[in-house]
């Protein structure tokens, strides 16, 4: 692992420090937008650890988010909510390890379809389970204050960024990139491909699980079709692709760009937002330098970054 440049770490600490004082100055609304930004940064960073680096594109990250939210509502009232958050991360991570073991044996578009299918399968399973339990939608009353939840989310965003940064600059990260460039060659030169991929998958599920748990409290409402919404997966992919890099900078830019766009559009013209999102995706896939689609589906050359 390379030493962390002093300038980068100073900027990182300064930004997080400044952001943590936001509740003292900003209005409730500004804090809500900032929380949403932190959430997407955390999700997109987590996605990058697996998908940006290995080229295995997951369209199912909503599963981890939803799983975390579900753990939170299930343990609500019996467990301290702050204890449920790491527990949610752990459950998501374990689920990823269990699902990843068979799923990571396929590549390219097959992996994309499989992750999407798994997430939908999980969604409809939980809808069924909830219906059987006689729980049709759950309400969380007495959640921590929005400011506390904002700080928690900020912490998760910082942690996710840190993880991506550390992995990106580590031996492990180079191994993951080698898998993206040419999996067989990577295996031949002695990279433990299966273990690396699985570790990355588990790592990329951990933070989304915790994000889901915090968001369940923020929304104070849980309903499976909403917590496991495929649009969450889709947004993550678009952010990471628009940000478009395999280190921690990409997801930050992508999230900033899309949150800005969505704040402008979601309330006034939600359909326009979706159209713009689709158009942007097409644009970036077709015209982004070095072809992000190639990277997603594997076999791309190393981009000059």
């Amino acid at each position: 692992m390379q030493p962390v440049p002093i300038r980068t770490s100073l900027i990182f600490v300064a930004v997080i420090g400044a952001a943590s004082f936001l509740p003292q100055f900003g209005s409730e609304y500004v804090v809500a937008v900032a929380l949403s930004f932190a959430m997407w940064v955390a999700l997109a960073q987590s996605w990058t650890v697996l998908c940006g680096m290995t080229g295995y594109g997951s369209f199912g990250h909503a599963a981890f988010y939803g799983m975390g939210a579900y753990v939170q509502v299930l343990t609500w009232g019996t467990l301290s909510p702050w204890l449920s958050v790491p527990l949610a991360g752990l459950v998501s991570c374990l689920f990823a390890l269990a699902a990843g073991y068979p799923a990571l044996k396929v590549r390219g578009p097959y992996f994309v379809m499989l992750t999407f299918g798994l997430a939908e399968f999980l969604k409809f399973s939980i809808i069924g389970i909830e219906a059987t339990l006689g729980q049709f939608s759950r309400l969380i009353i007495g959640a921590p204050s929005p400011n506390a939840l904002y700080l928690a989310m900020l912490g998760l965003a910082a942690a996710a960024t840190l993880i991506t940064y550390v992995v990106s600059n580590s031996r492990f990260g180079y191994g993951l990139r080698a898998i993206r460039e040419e999996e067989q060659a990577a295996e031949t030169i002695g990279i433990p491909v299966a273990r690396y991929k699985l570790t990355a998958f588990g790592l990329s599920a951990f933070i989304p699980g915790m994000v889901g748990a915090v968001m369940a409290m923020r929304l104070s409402y849980f309903e499976p079709s909403q917590a496991f919404d495929a649009l969450i997966s889709f947004n993550i992919v678009v952010m990471a692709m628009i940000g478009g890099s395999d280190d921690a900078r990409g997801p930050l830019l992508g999230a900033l760009f899309l949150i800005g766009l969505s704040e402008l559009l979601w309330a006034r013209a939600p359909q326009v937002y979706m159209i713009v999102l689709g158009a942007l995706l097409v644009f970036f896939v077709l015209f982004a330098p070095q072809g992000l689609a190639k990277q997603l589906f594997g076999g791309a050359r190393r981009r000059a970054t």
Partner: protein, 418 residues
């Protein structure tokens, strides 16, 4: 004359608002113009600041079919209030301005929108979104900000048990009470067996939860019982089971989009039970247009009719709705939504815009509405009974309970030939 002008401008603003988006500015400008023109002629409109009333509306998505009638009532109410010179805020009349966003029938968006309305737009009053899942989602937000909101197109026993303090439901159709009404009518009409279909949305599942034990108690056999996800596109497999079981009654705890699927496919397959209950949808104007004669005999949920002379304003609501929109109002949603506006209006007239005072007033007072007196116990309206409607000869008729019914249940005629 100015009243007329204001009305016209408001109608224009409504038209413009249909496109949502940037037209909001135009609407504001028109409203300002309307108020401005009122200023020129003394003694007509009031120059006070508008009262901002915010809500989320399901313009698109699963609930769009039924939510259309909701927003039409909100607009109608706003026009009526403004035509009267404005909303009476403890003696001072102020114009009403509606602030709303499309929630795409997504409960997650409902949460975002109510947060934005409260913290961003800083609205003075809130009205409700469409449907139980959206109400439950909004309930969390209004609890957090202690912002009272009278709900309308929703009911939930689960929520009643949580005992929130800032939301109420104008309906008499709490799922447990609806179940009792249905079973009473079943017994009276000699129904011995039913087939039960339920959408996996909160309201329909709760309806099922309370109906099944009530049926068992009454000795009515459930021959088929199926659940399906909200986004269902085809019911053929389920309906073939229903047809083979040949029950005396079919109960579809459905929402507008799947109610339409049920009506279409039950007709195609020739399901000929004499009692067919379809929960949400048949009261909407769009259903009358789409299904016409095929709706005859269908029983649905609702406890209102414009024909009840004891309910002040019931006929007037019907007439003004038809005049404005050129179609009849939904007998289910229109009164529920209008009642929520009336309750809010009466509370504000009494105590002004102070949220604590509004909450206390709504929780304790009795309100006079187009569906009779409303009194809340907890979140539940205990002044209104759970009722049933039936489409008879193309007309919506109130058939249950006997205390307010205007007609008796008639066995469903055969589906019209295609």
């Amino acid at each position: 004359m100015v009243d007329k002008l204001v009305g016209k401008l408001n109608a224009l603003a409504v038209l413009n608002n249909n496109a949502l988006g940037e037209t909001h500015m135009l609407k504001k400008a028109l409203l300002a113009l309307a108020i401005g023109s009122g200023l020129l002629l003394p003694g007509t409109a009031d120059a006070a600041d508008p009262v901002k009333v915010g809500f989320a509306v399901a313009k698109t998505g699963l609930f769009a079919g039924a939510a259309d009638g909701q927003i039409k009532i909100y607009e109608l109410w706003k026009d009526q209030v403004n035509a009267r010179g404005g909303l009476d805020v403890k003696g001072v009349k102020r114009p009403v301005e509606l602030v709303y966003y499309d929630d795409q029938s997504d409960a997650g968006k409902v949460v975002q929108i109510y947060e934005k309305l409260i913290t961003g737009d800083k609205v003075d009053l809130l009205l409700a979104p469409y449907g139980t899942s959206s109400h439950i989602a909004a309930a969390g937000v209004v609890e957090r900000y202690k912002f009272p909101m009278v709900g309308n197109t929703a009911a939930s026993v689960k929520l009643r048990e949580i005992k929130p303090g800032n939301i109420w439901f104008t309906t008499g159709q709490m799922p447990d009470r609806l179940a009792v009404s249905l079973v009473e009518l079943f017994k009276l009409k000699g129904i011995k067996s039913i087939a039960l279909l339920a959408n996996q949305l909160p309201f329909s599942l709760e309806s099922k939860t309370y109906l099944v034990p009530a049926l068992t108690k009454a000795g009515i056999e459930v021959k088929v019982s199926e659940e399906y996800p909200p986004s269902i596109k085809d019911m053929t497999a389920m309906l073939i089971n229903v047809k083979q079981a040949n029950p005396d009654a079919v109960v579809a705890f459905s929402f507008p989009s799947d109610s339409a699927i049920y009506l279409k496919q039950a007709r195609e397959l020739g399901i000929d039970a004499k009692f067919q209950f379809v929960e949400v949808g048949p009261t909407e104007a769009a259903f009358a247009k789409q299904f016409g004669e095929a709706l005859n005999g269908i029983v649905t949920m609702g406890h209102w009719t414009p024909d009840n002379k004891q309910w002040t304003g019931a006929r007037a609501l019907f007439d003004s709705y038809v005049q404005k929109y050129n179609e009849p109002p939904s007998y289910l949603n229109a009164p529920l939504v209008y009642m929520s506006c009336q309750i809010l209006e009466q509370a504000v007239a009494k105590v002004g815009l102070d949220r604590d005072a509004i909450r206390k007033t709504i929780a304790t007072d009795t309100f006079d509405t187009v569906n009779g007196p409303v009194k809340f116990e907890g979140i539940e309206n205990v002044g209104t009974p759970a009722g049933l409607l039936q489409i008879q000869g193309g007309n919506m008729t109130l058939i249950w309970p006997p205390s307010i019914a205007t007609a008796d249940f008639k066995p469903k005629p055969a589906w019209p030939a295609k």
